[in-house]
């Protein structure tokens, strides 16, 4: 009874994500107009922005589930945090790589010290550290606690990191002219972007769900139900130590 509904939910997610991805692909390649300034490379936006969106969503999820784990001490929350962090790190790396590929023809450089880029790169480093902390000790629960702490400290830091880099740029020189999304956006572009974000979000939910099942199995395997010769039950007798009468 417990196997059927998750599987059908997965199937639904997979179909929905595939349809959304197909629609996004058509919208992005065939319907949305070519950017007047940046040309074809601008179409990378339809992947780059959803990847960044999904990454931020994942990291926010890590924060929420980290707090939930520390409050409830239930490893289920920790597994969600781990799955979200893994996806988030992957999406952050993808967003940075695509941003770099996009920036090269448009800006002429692979990297600029734009606040969004720097913040995203710092996020990648923070959550790589987060994932590494999980393997620190041999104790599963201790790893989860440490990771939750890093998840909280790391995310608390994000707004300050972002503002500091924004000011680092703007207080020295005029606001960035290299801003990659000129406004206002063509409605067809906005539609393609919106559907792509939806497709990424659905696919991300699917990936997290499937990863959660793998992690749950690993946790169950690591903690077999006590049985057989395993010491269980209650102590035979309470052990009460009082001063022994001495001669």
């Amino acid at each position: 009874m417990t196997t059927r509904s998750p599987r059908s939910a997965d199937r639904f997610l997979a179909v929905a994500a595939a349809l959304a991805a197909l629609a996004a692909g058509v919208l992005a390649v065939a319907v949305a107009p070519t950017d007047a300034v940046q040309g074809q490379p601008q179409r990378l936006m339809y992947v780059h922005v959803p990847a960044a969106w999904l990454a931020y969503l994942c990291f926010a999820g890590v924060l929420v589930t980290s707090i939930a784990f520390l409050v409830r001490r239930d490893l289920r929350w920790d597994r969600v945090a781990q799955a979200a962090a893994e996806l988030g790190v992957g999406m952050t790396a993808l967003a940075i790589a695509l941003g770099s590929v996009w920036g090269r023809p448009v800006w002429g450089v692979w990297w600029v010290w734009d606040p969004r880029l720097v913040t995203t790169a710092v996020l990648l480093l923070v959550y790589l550290g987060y994932l590494s902390v999980r393997g620190l000790g041999d104790d599963r629960a201790a790893g989860a606690r440490r990771a939750a702490a890093v998840g909280i400290i790391g995310f608390a830091n994000v707004p300050v990191v972002h503002f500091s880099v924004v000011w680092w740029r703007t207080l020295h020189q005029p606001a960035s002219v290299l801003s990659p999304d000129p406004a206002p956006m063509d409605p067809r572009m906005a539609a393609a972007l919106g559907v792509a974000v939806l497709a990424f979000t659905l696919a991300g939910a699917l990936v997290v769900r499937r990863r959660l099942r793998v992690l749950a199995v690993a946790d169950t395997a690591a903690a077999p139900p006590a049985e057989g010769d395993a010491p269980t039950g209650v102590a035979a007798e309470p052990l009460v130590v009082v001063p022994r009468s001495r001669s």
Binding site: A222, P231, A235, A236, L239, V241, P243, R244
Partner: protein, 241 residues
């Protein structure tokens, strides 16, 4: 809590030097402490573990344990390597969170591994006083050092002490803090016979001062005659012997 109030009354006194172990020098002769006050079976508990266990590698280390230690008792814990003696002591000291069950302690609980616990760069005096100050009892440090015969070593660096001396220095620091429960993990390791006898005398005196002692050891011989209880961990069960 009333348990604390009951226990605290005599604790205001500094460690009585009446049972001082004269160290070093000729063979230390412990003076018998006065009788350990009114026995309180079923009365104030220094430590109460109710159905506690700890999970390691997905399995409970031992079956849930109900353990009640009253003040002024010495409990010896034996068992083979890996049986969970350290886990029991660290859990009793509040350093480990039980996977199941509850722990209640009427005051401070301390855990010492072997003779460690003090910073090796400090002198014995500075380390013992600094540790006692953490419990707000810096004034008790001198008496504790005297009780453990540490004055001749007071200006030595902790790192230069012998194994036996280190155990005494760490014990002095712990005793000065006036804990309700003191968990000693293998204090007998690396001690020669004479140092073992001295340790037994010291522990007897510490117990007489109202501390509940929980001592894990592979060499229980010298402690068992003094012990109020002998717990043994085998096959995942903590049993009384």
């Amino acid at each position: 809590m009333t348990a604390r109030a009951d226990r605290r009354a005599p604790s205001r006194r500094a460690l009585r030097p009446t049972y001082a172990v004269a160290m070093p020098g000729p063979r230390a002769i412990p003076l018998r402490p006065p009788s350990p006050g009114p026995a309180v079976p079923g009365g104030a508990a220094a430590l109460r573990l109710s159905g506690v266990t700890r999970v390691h590698g997905g399995r409970p280390v031992w079956a849930p344990v109900d353990l009640l230690l009253t003040p002024g008792t010495l409990t010896v814990v034996t068992g083979p390597n890996g049986s969970g003696k350290s886990t029991l002591l660290r859990l009793a000291a509040g350093l480990l969170r039980p996977a199941a069950g509850t722990r209640a302690c009427a005051g401070t609980a301390l855990y010492l591994r072997g003779g460690a616990g003090l910073r090796t760069a400090q002198t014995v005096r500075a380390a013992v006083t600094g540790t006692a100050a953490l419990a707000g009892r810096a004034q008790a440090a001198a008496a504790a050092m005297a009780a453990l015969g540490l004055h001749p070593l007071a200006d030595r660096t902790v790192g230069t002490l012998s194994a036996g001396e280190r155990v005494r220095a760490a014990l002095a620091a712990a005793v000065a803090c006036r804990p309700a429960v003191l968990c000693l993990d293998e204090p007998t390791a690396a001690l020669d016979e004479r140092a073992l006898d001295d340790l037994a005398a010291v522990l007897d005196a510490v117990r007489a001062d109202g501390v509940a002692l929980l001592v894990a050891t592979h060499q229980p011989g010298v402690l068992l005659p003094l012990a109020d209880a002998h717990l043994s961990i085998a096959d995942g069960r903590v049993v009384r012997r």
